[in-house]
Amino acid sequence: MRSKPLIELENVTFTYPGVEVPVLTDVTLSINEGDFTAIIGGNGSGKSTLCKTFNGLIPQFYVGEFEGRVIANGLLAEDQTVAQLSKNIGYVYQDFDNQLLRPTVIDDVCFTPLNYGLQDHKERGEWALKVTGLEDLRDEFIWQLSGGQKHLLALAGALAMKPKILVIDEPIAQLDPQHAKRIYDILRNLNIEYGMTIIVIEHHTEFIANYCREVILMDKGRVLWKKTTKEALSRVAELMKHQIYPPQVTQAAQRLGIDMGKDDLYPTTLDEAITHFTQQAPSYKELRKHEPLHEEVKLRHQPIIQFQEVSLQYRTLKKTVKHALTDINISCYEGDLITLVGNNGAGKSSLIKLITGIMRPSQGDVLIQGINTRKATPEKLSDFVSYVYQKPEEMFIDDSVRKDIEYYLKARKVQDYEVLVEKLLEDFSLVDIQHQDGRLLSGGQQRRASLAIGAAMNPSIILLDEPTANLDIATKKHMVHMLNKLRKHVKLVIVATHDMQLVSEWANRVIVMNQGRIMCDGDKHTVFGNNVLMEQAGLVPPQILQLSQRLKMEVPCHTVEEFITIWDQEGANLERSIEYT
């Protein structure tokens, strides 16, 4: 398939007006027909900007100084309108919600081919729904769809034109692992079956390793290189320098010096890792047993939160009753760091909303520090509960980050609130941007601001909904660091998340939910050790844990550090046992 280049950029530079530094600097690049390419780089490295030059959105829809040439599908981009170029280039935005323009699924998916006056627009729409597996939803209204379904619909809408090139900005940022895999399987199918050229902007290197063939690394508006996936992901140190974390197995292999036999290439997928690690440690099964690393035992005092026989139902648009939560009985104690995990729609957000008092249970009672939420307003509960939304934008109710942090303190006339605000601004690295409007910040900055707003409420209980979604790994590490800081200030933290690495690295208690019920309440060992449970709840354990399980290591390793320590120990033990014989 080494055929002609489909997208060519020659010395492209783009600068926003009034800004000294260009967002794209002297980019020369070509992407061939039939490629499956990932574009990686830290937050703000110019990945989306680059992709918007392909269909002419830049420079036609963004004011700025543009130099260089873009040739897309054989056409010089500057001679074409965006609409003309878009005939062959499908684009799925990161905020895909806003690209669904029609009320029903079938209307939305047929919209583009209809606009181009194609007689077979209906057939194309049906085809796109079939490819994305949305046929059953064809007559639904789009506001009834879940987040994952909306994302698939945005993809279907771009597919209906059967474009030669498909650009997708962060395809799986907000999805649980099962939905994420489904999206990538669809993309692979489109690439192989229909020869579509696919370009994704992606932070999840484990998906890149499994699906993409080429990787482009960007930094500060420059394209540093384009390499095959294997070569690219094996450059562990370089990637980490650019705040990209290669797959866990690759990190472990590089640090232990387990290469694939030539050219400093390391295993990048789980299967490769299993093969190569097994070759290096043939006598594994004979190694002695390690004591499992147990967490310290917690003192159980009076519970801070109690759910007693709680159920929650509500009526949907079609007047059917939806059971959001069923028979929930849990108690949370001081010192608990809880992660709530489960598929999209498992009931995590409902559970959290019951604690804030925004929603009240249909049956049963929720007690927060002894107060029944039925008898207290959300304002009253916010004296000790603070809730950080999944969408930071909906928390920005004032016109600067600083004022947003101050809002709660001012409303309660807290003495000397400035001192606390200064401290929070510093703790959450917001000093330089404190006077900016929260809406105009980057994704990572918005998260930090929303966390600071939550912390300013000086709560005993803090609830976080997907705090690490949409973050590049460096910002995510920073977020975990912030979460660890929060431990000092609050009695209890509850995080709803899809991020299993966060579960491994941070939590001391894991609650698994599925279809509104609690399936398991334990620690990471009990949850990750139970394969049946993981399967049922649609969870995928961190890659490094899978590797340690598949290698039949006695101690399951939850982080790369643990893996390396234990591998070295076992290696040392192995050497010692050889010496003795």
Binding site: N55, L57, F61, T81, A83, Q84, S86, K87, I89, G90, Y91, Y93, D95, D97, N98, Q99, L100, L101, R102, P103, F111, T112, L114, N115, Y116, G117, Q119, H121, F141, I142, W143, G157, Y314, R315, L317, T356, I358, R360, T377, P378, E379, K380, S382, S386, Y387, Y389, K391, E393, E394, M395, F396, I397, Y407, Y408, A411, R412, D437, R439, I453, M457
Partner: protein, 274 residues
């Protein structure tokens, strides 16, 4: 306490959202909803405008009866009817109060009653038409009548964003509640609490507008990448968009029946005086 909470549940944001959407999209299977949207628009052009110029009480009564029948046929949401009734009664009460203020008396109620009948006819006609015609069909009808495609798209898109906006408004409203402080006591007749809620209801619009402005950036770009401006220049596309509409026997029947009814009512109005 239980009753209070059940009322509160009924009037939750979710409930209002559902009812509005049901009114806009939900009634696809009534006789009126199956008519050609253009027939409904022609029908509305008469029943929505003509009553303004009619003063004959007999004719107004006759039209009111007809509108009540069509409203029932359209299976309108009770919420809309309640809002309409509250509006009309409030109107009478308000005008009555003003007339008292200017030295009027109970004799002013009667003319106001007939004004209200007139308003009721027009309102019910609007309700009938707009709950029988989803925004899509309304937009397409306007398109076929020669209005630019931007108008027709805007109507459909406006409705499409409505649930999103309401959802976001709700979240922002909750943000204010979760970080604000409600008055310690409700005050006489709950006035403190009412003022508190009114205030956040109003201020919640500002973040909503700003977020909306930011979001529309993607929408505008998406419109372009989905070839919308391309379609606007192509008359073939317009034909394809409206090709599903056609006048059927039922449309002619409905318009003829309405016409005959109006003739009878006007004749009655000329012979019978109320």
């Amino acid at each position: 306490m239980n009753e209070v909470s059940s009322i509160r549940e009924k009037f939750s944001v979710e409930f209002v959202k559902e009812e509005l959407l049901r009114t806009a999209y939900g009634n696809g299977d009534t006789f009126l909803a199956r008519l050609d949207p253009r027939a409904l628009i022609y029908w509305y052009l008469f029943f929505g405008i003509a009553p303004w110029f009619i003063h004959n009480k007999m004719i107004l009564s006759g039209l009111l009866v007809f509108m009540v029948v069509t409203t029932v046929m359209a299976r309108t949401s009770p919420l809309i009817i309640i809002i309409l009734c509250t509006g009309l009664l409030g109107e009478i009460a308000f005008l009555f109060f003003i007339s008292l203020f200017f030295g009027g008396g109970f004799e002013s109620v009667l003319p106001m009653f007939w004004l209200t009948v007139k308003l009721a006819v027009i309102s019910l006609a609007s309700i009938t038409v707009f709950s029988s015609m989803d925004p899509e069909r309304f937009g397409d009808a306007l398109l076929s009548m020669g209005l630019p495609s931007q108008v027709s798209f805007s109507i459909a898109f406006g409705y499409r964003t409505l649930p999103t906006l309401m959802e976001e408004f709700h979240q922002i409203f909750l943000s204010y509640r979760l970080r604000g402080k409600a008055p310690d006591s409700h005050g006489f007749l709950y006035w403190r609490s009412i003022v508190y809620f009114m205030k956040i209801l109003v201020v919640s619009f500002y973040p909503l507008l700003l977020n909306g402005a930011k979001r529309s950036r993607t929408t505008v770009e998406a419109l372009e990448t989905k070839g919308f401006s391309y379609a606007a220049t192509d008359s073939k596309v317009k034909k394809m968009k409206i090709s599903y509409m056609s006048f059927k026997w039922s449309d002619y029947g409905f318009l003829t029946a309405s016409f005959l009814y109006v003739v009878v009512v006007f004749w009655l109005g000329s012979v019978v005086q109320i």
